[in-house]
């Protein structure tokens, strides 16, 4: 197997066993990036010399049986809104094009402590909102990779790195994971530190992980935990899955609806208990709550920057900020209070179910890279702060992957990972090499 095809867990294990050289591994990934990056454009900054030097240090340590942690010598990608010490961090904005932080985001520091090599910074949409960057979908470069964590999802899908960090304020991890055919995890907000991560909306921002298996998501989360997991809850036997149609099916393509129903049947056939889950009445106002919080917090965050650099702002972020300037304090507070009510009523769904299942996006990745797709499937769960996972589970008629979104009870990431791993064995891995790269591997761009 080529090193670039290794999963995160397999690579970490091989390095520890001495059967994979960190230097060779990094070189394989850099060669792959060199070959396909002109077509995919997933990266903003890669300091090749620094990466190779770090790989040599990891290799020397490994040769002497000294391992920094569970990710020793494994390269990962970092969305370009996480601060990286000594490495340019642009937030996808011309305003920060030369910004070099003098410290790491806490999540980045934890990855380094675990032995990971920071391979580079991946493309984010401007300030992690909806104005797209240059990244293309590795399955078909005429399609969007999603956003805002566009580069992280595309890089993992295209075998340029085994895992990457992203962030989600509405649907910026789950949606690109679905479009690019990779697994993702967005744990509760408090689980992964957002210190030194440029915010989009403080109370909605979450860190997230991209990888190519549930096992790899777990390995990353084990390293990134910022708050103790607490007592674990194990799934009931049989696992009870609530399929949420209603709002989610109204917004899904006919193909996505049919595919999710087919998946439900497969899971039922495999021994899962699958029943329809009914949303509470408060769900009707979830978009109004989310949009009001998002507008108001984003406007506040960008108050000074926007006043000084408005010409550099993309049209979607500009509109978001301007409408946010018009939200009165009482309405913002009311939205925050209604969010509590929403969370309180939504959590009752787990009295009957272990996990909830919905499409992860309206359908497969939309054609064109002028927009990043609609986060409508992800926003309700980001607002709830329940942990979510996206898994690729089928291929659409146009050859692009479809993703299923699994949601677990509050703070029950371990339960979600356990059930996700069981579901993964039923759906099989759709993490195969992207067809575009197979056919044009030697002649990209």
């Amino acid at each position: 197997m080529n090193p670039e095809d290794l999963s995160l867990t397999a690579a970490a294990t091989a390095i520890r066993a001495g059967s994979l050289s960190p230097v060779d591994y990094v070189q394989a990934l850099l060669s792959r990036i060199e070959a396909i990056e002109p077509a995919i454009q997933a990266w903003v900054t890669i300091d090749r010399k620094a990466v190779q030097a770090e790989a040599r240090r990891c290799e020397d340590e490994a040769r002497n049986k000294r391992f920094r942690g569970p990710l020793h010598g494994v390269p990962v990608g970092i969305k370009d809104i996480f601060y990286t010490k000594g490495l340019k961090t642009t937030m996808g904005s011309a305003v920060f094009k030369d910004f070099i932080p003098d410290e790491d985001a806490t999540a980045v520091a934890k990855l380094k402590q675990a032995g990971a090599i920071i391979l580079g910074k991946t493309v984010t949409t401007q300030f992690a909102n909806l104005d797209p960057g240059p990244t293309r979908n590795p399955w078909n470069i005429e399609h969007s990779p999603g956003g805002s964590s566009s580069g992280s999802a595309a890089a993992v899908a295209a075998r340029m790195c085994p895992s990457a960090l992203g962030t989600q304020t509405v649907g910026s991890v789950g949606r690109p994971a679905a479009f690019c055919g990779v697994a993702s995890l967005v744990p509760a907000r408090q689980r992964i530190s957002l210190k030194h991560v440029f915010p989009l909306a403080w109370s909605l921002d979450h860190a997230g992980i991209f990888a190519r298996s549930v096992l790899d998501l777990r390995l990353m989360l084990d390293v990134l935990w910022d708050s103790p997991a607490g007592p674990g809850v194990h799934p009931r036997n049989p696992v009870r899955i609530g399929i949420v149609r209603g709002f989610f099916f109204e917004h899904a393509s006919p193909e996505a609806r049919a595919s999710i129903d087919a998946l439900a049947q497969r899971l039922a056939g495999a021994g899962f208990e699958v029943e329809e889950a009914r949303l509470p009445a408060v769900f009707e106002i979830q978009q109004a709550i989310l949009r009001t919080i998002l507008r108001s917090e984003t406007a506040s965050i960008h108050e000074r920057l926007f006043a000084e650099h408005s010409a550099t702002y993309g049209p979607k972020l500009r509109t978001l900020i301007e409408t946010g300037m018009l939200v009165e304090a009482a309405d913002y507070l009311r939205a925050r209070r209604l969010r509590r009510k929403y969370q309180r009523e939504m959590v009752r769904l787990f009295e009957k179910f272990d996990v909830l299942m919905t499409p992860a996006a309206r359908g497969a990745a939309p054609e064109g890279i002028g927009a990043t797709g609609d986060p409508v499937m992800n926003g309700p769960w980001t607002l709830s702060d329940f942990p979510t996972m996206t898994l690729p589970y089928a291929m659409a008629a146009n050859g692009l992957p479809l993703g299923v979104q699994l949601t677990g009870p509050p703070l029950q990431e371990n339960l979600l990972l356990e059930i996700g791993a069981e579901i993964e064995t039923v759906v099989g891995a759709v993490y195969d090499r992207a067809p575009f790269l197979e056919s044009t591997k030697d002649a990209p761009s």
């Binding site: 978009q287 109004a288 949009r291 009001t292 409408t323 018009l326 939200v327 309405d331 209070r337 009510k341």
Partner: protein, 44 residues
């Protein structure tokens, strides 16, 4: 609440017109929030 007028004062006529549909959505969102009861225990 006349968001269109506030936007006109703040951003000018052309811009207020450009973002008219967003302003309508904002007004609709706020109307929904204001018409949904909250309890004292629902802290922000």
């Amino acid at each position: 609440m006349n968001l269109q007028q506030t936007a006109l004062d703040k951003f000018g006529k052309d811009r207020a017109e450009e973002i008219r549909s967003d302003l309508e959505q904002l007004a609709d969102d706020i109307r929904k929030l204001r018409s949904t009861p909250v309890e004292l225990d629902d802290e922000p």
